[in-house]
């Protein structure tokens, strides 16, 4: 009797145990899945962009090499996440992810909106040699995705880059309409629908005024900030020859050959430089930005300026008006009529003065990776030097 009772109770418990397992699959797997499917249907734009073949191959590489084990692709509904990475990840954004790449560990930052945060040459250089760009990074280098140089990716390297550039793309492209639709359908959780899709400070967005930097001299802190964040590309002496410069087009600015106003540095540090690998540095405190600006300005050594005959200035002005003003602007402020069509904004000579040598070199050879064309064969030597002298006169510290 007792044995039978026991047997019955074990039978009931065993069935119950399997039942609870089935229940867990139902309530934590199947049912949330249906809710998420429904949410995806309501919030998704009608035709969200999927992945191309190259992007899909890149995704496989991303999975294969464990990228998701240091970089999540899931912004949580948490203030710290949203302020750092932007709007929380919606279900529809992951609808093509077989298998999911959410991740449960962040050694590096979340990448769900990484697309278009950095330039392509920055991404490739970083994959090729992370520490040449980010001094204290612990990311593995992936030279096997390249043929010996950061600007020579293999097919796999190009695929991975293509995939990285898709991250967050569908949501960006869905635009305000997509956000409005998601907001309307979000029902229970509107409080965290951040208006900022991508909060990455590295993404150059012209929003908010750059802070006025102070002309401080804090060489210790400035040198530390410069070493950690800048030296990789701009080089330890600011000559634009850091290890990370190798694969960047255009090359990083040669800080030793340019004089900058504080305002110019503040703008570049705050917004990055569009069309180049220079990211925005809004996540650094303003005091650090001021300190590093002091370091940058110290790279330019004053040198003796030769006296310039009036005739040369006059020739320079004529050549400048004929050939340079369309882009660099009549008053040298980088605001010529053609600016809107250029991928990289022309140099503003009012806030930034090249050395004579740098000015001549740029005129002769152009600047690789920018619309600045070489004028070496087109202008005479006298004209080249005249205009090189002339543009330096715009500077107004």
């Amino acid at each position: 009797m007792n044995g039978r009772l026991l047997r019955m109770s074990y039978l009931v418990a065993s069935v119950g145990g399997v039942g609870f397992f089935a229940l867990s699959v139902l309530v934590l797997g199947v049912w949330p899945g249906r809710t998420l499917e429904d949410q995806t249907r309501r919030m998704s734009p009608d035709h969200p962009l999927g992945l191309s073949l190259s992007e899909q191959r890149g995704r496989v590489i991303y999975g294969r090499d464990g990228c998701a084990y240091c970089h999540t692709q899931q912004v949580r509904y948490v203030g710290a996440d949203v302020s750092r990475f932007g709007a929380p990840t919606l279900a529809w954004e992951t609808r093509f992810d077989y298998p999911q790449l959410w991740g449960t560990r962040r050694i590096g930052p979340d990448l769900s909106r990484e697309g278009a945060v950095r330039s392509a040459d920055w991404q490739l250089s970083h994959l090729y040699s992370p520490r040449s760009l980010v001094a204290d990074s612990v990311m593995p280098a992936f030279p096997s995705l390249f043929e010996g140089a950061p600007d020579r990716p293999t097919q796999e390297g190009r695929d991975l880059l293509a995939y990285l550039e898709t991250l967050g793309r569908a949501r960006e492209l869905a635009g305000p309409e997509g956000e409005a639709r998601a907001r309307a359908a979000s029902g229970g959780m509107p409080e965290m629908m951040s208006p900022v899709l991508n909060a990455s400070p590295a993404k150059a967005r012209r929003q908010g005024d750059h802070p006025a930097l102070a002309a401080v001299r804090d060489p210790g802190r400035g040198a530390e900030v410069y070493r950690q964040n800048c030296a990789g590309c701009h080089g330890v002496r600011g000559e634009g020859d850091g290890a990370g410069a190798q694969g960047l087009h255009p090359r990083p600015a040669n800080l030793a050959e340019h004089e900058y106003t504080l305002d110019r540095l503040g703008f570049a540090l705050w917004n990055g430089v569009a069309g180049t690998a220079m990211p925005a540095w809004r996540d650094l405190p303003p005091a650090d930005l001021s300190a590093v600006a002091g370091v940058v300005r110290a790279f330019y050594a004053e040198r003796r300026e030769p006296a310039i005959p009036a005739a040369v200035i006059e020739l320079g002005a004529r050549v400048y008006a004929a050939h340079c003003a369309q882009c660099h602007g009549e008053k040298g402020a980088g605001d010529g009529s053609a600016v809107g069509e250029l991928r990289v904004v022309p140099t503003n000579f009012v806030t930034q003065r090249p050395s004579l040598a740098a000015s001549l070199a740029a005129l002769r050879n152009g600047i690789d990776g920018t619309p600045m064309a070489p004028w070496g064969g087109k202008l005479s030597e006298a004209e080249l030097s005249a205009v090189a002298y002339f543009v330096r006169g715009f500077y107004n510290p």
């Binding site: 026991l6 074990y10 418990a13 145990g17 399997v18 609870f20 397992f21 229940l23 867990s24 699959v25 309530v27 934590l28 797997g29 049912w31 949330p32 899945g33 809710t35 998420l36 949410q39 995806t40 999975g63 294969r64 464990g66 990228c67 084990y69 240091c70 899931q74 949580r76 948490v78 710290a80 996440d81 750092r84 990840t89 279900a91 992951t94 609808r95 992810d97 077989y98 298998p99 999911q100 959410w102 449960t104 560990r105 050694i107 590096g108 930052p109 992370p130 520490r131 204290d136 990074s137 612990v138 990311m139 593995p140 280098a141 992936f142 096997s144 229970g188 959780m189 996540d283 405190p285």
Partner: protein, 478 residues
């Protein structure tokens, strides 16, 4: 039921016990090597010199899969070859089947899995990194394991099954059910929906595979080594059923504050809280059963499983607390969680597996046994676990603090560096502990283990028992 009252079953396949036991420790060295290399690469990121085979991600995959499937599974199998005949009085299904299972598990699952991951064939799914082709062999092997180990329980009748038997049956059956959830479903169900299933498996891997088999060992070794019945069979069974009811419902607590419906998240948080209470019941029962044996019993097997139970208590309470939203918000994604998982796998599970291994080794006639080395193994591993888990928990708090501030991301990487250094150094006592564990099982006098059991002498020096050993051998020879 008193396990020790039964004479040692003559049907224990000692060959398979030895084979799985040694395979377990050898694979442990493999998994340990992957882990140490990965942790060193966080200090010296260019250590691998750009070799993609040794890049951090692939090493990380092989480390956790190696611990779970190479070390723990082999140690569990070794234990089952001893425990199932002892618990049921019947032999396992077939020696031949056992040889196949051994071959499949080691040469079709773990070794090819490791190589394939290094070669770039894997799944980016936590605790499921081996590629699908290897997963197929895992499922096949799990089915064979059920055929091998469960029939003796059923042919004997379920009336007076000891709690270890329940854990063995539950562990094997539910592992087979849960494994496809994390390994196959996310390949078919995309994104957030797939993540819901991944979450289930991440927890089921520990809750329905590692925990039941580790608890089976602890429940087995304590009465066998102390020669006293467990404190309360009622608490044992209550703990068992609560565990199997509540564990699977924890999964979503890995994705709190995600887009997965809040009601599922809250359900998982509630289940996590109940689970902590259940573990308090289980461990109370275990520790009360250890009364009188001391905090550090002399028998190394008993000492390992006793400490395992304490680690289990700590890690489970930690788990309940971590699932609470206010805590989770801060420590999720940080090194705190890595500390937590090491406390579970290296503290709780590894200590149980090592204790089980030592216990069954003592009972293999003519097996070598070196209690001094095992004593060293215990203390080295204990020190290693404590240093590593404390260090990673502190690192996680620092990271969480920086992530919540306005500091640039890279600050958290810089701040973690000294903690990562200590974590890597904790490899020294841990590796030394595993080496001495192996030494303890392959050196020493033949049959010293059995003699230690018969005389309940634990750590008494071998010289003192040599005359008795000689007498026993003489008696056996005649």
């Amino acid at each position: 039921m008193d396990v020790t009252a039964r004479p040692l079953a003559p049907s224990v396949e000692t060959g398979l016990v030895r084979a799985h036991g040694l395979a377990a420790i050898l694979m442990l060295f493999g998994a340990l090597t992957f882990g140490v290399l990965a942790s060193t690469e966080l200090l010296v990121p260019d250590l691998a010199g750009g070799s993609v085979w040794l890049s951090w991600g692939r090493l990380r995959y092989d480390h956790t899969q190696g611990i779970m499937l190479g070390w723990l599974a082999n140690a569990f199998f070794a234990f089952l070859y001893h425990a199932v005949p002892v618990l049921t009085g019947r032999p396992v299904t077939s020696l031949r089947l056992g040889q196949w299972l051994f071959g499949l598990w080691n040469f079709a699952v773990v070794l090819p899995g490791w190589v394939l991951v290094l070669a770039g064939f894997s799944q980016p799914l936590e605790w499921a990194e081996f590629p699908l082709v290897v997963d197929a062999f895992v499922v096949l092997s799990l089915m064979l394991a059920i055929v091998q180990f469960l029939p003796p329980f059923f042919s004997r009748g379920l009336e007076d099954l000891y709690v270890s038997s329940w854990y063995v049956i539950g562990g094997l059956v539910f592992t087979l059910l849960a494994y496809p959830m994390g390994n196959f479903v996310p390949e078919l169900v995309p994104g957030a929906r797939g993540a819901a299933f991944s979450g289930l498996w991440i927890h089921d891997a520990i809750g329905l595979y590692v925990t039941p088999l580790a608890l089976a060992i602890i429940y087995f070794v304590i009465p066998a080594a102390t020669r006293r019945p467990i404190f309360s069979h009622f608490l044992s069974m209550l703990g068992f059923w609560l565990l199997f009811f509540v564990y699977p419902l924890n999964g979503t607590h890995h994705y709190i504050f995600s887009v997965i419906p809040m009601s599922a998240q809250k359900g998982a948080i509630a289940a996590s809280t109940i689970l902590g209470v259940d573990v308090v019941l289980v461990v109370t029962n275990l520790l009360l059963s250890l009364r009188g044996a001391g905090i550090f019993p002399r028998d190394p097997a008993l000492r390992f499983v006793g400490t395992s139970a304490v680690f289990y208590l700590i890690v489970s309470i930690q788990g309940s607390v971590q699932a609470q939203m206010a805590v989770n918000q801060a420590i999720h994604f940080s090194d705190w969680v890595i500390g937590h998982s090491h406390l579970a796998m290296l503290g709780f599970a590894t200590f149980a597996a090592a204790g089980g291994l030592i216990h069954i080794w003592q009972r293999i006639p003519q097996a070598r046994y070196n209690p001094t080395a095992l004593n060293w193994a215990y203390w080295l591993l204990f020190a290693g676990v404590v240093v590593m888990v404390t260090d990673l928990s502190a690192a996680g708090l620092v990271e969480a603090r920086l992530w919540g501030s306005a500091a640039p991301w890279i600050e958290s990487v810089r701040a973690a560096a000294p903690f990562w250094m200590i974590r890597t150094l904790s490899f020294v006592p841990i590796a030394a502990g595993f080496i001495t564990l192996l030494v303890g099982l392959v050196t020493g006098d033949r049959g010293a283990g059995l003699l230690a059991v018969e005389h309940s002498i634990g750590l008494e020096p071998v010289e003192a028992i040599a005359p008795r050993l000689a007498a026993a051998s003489a008696a056996e020879a005649s």
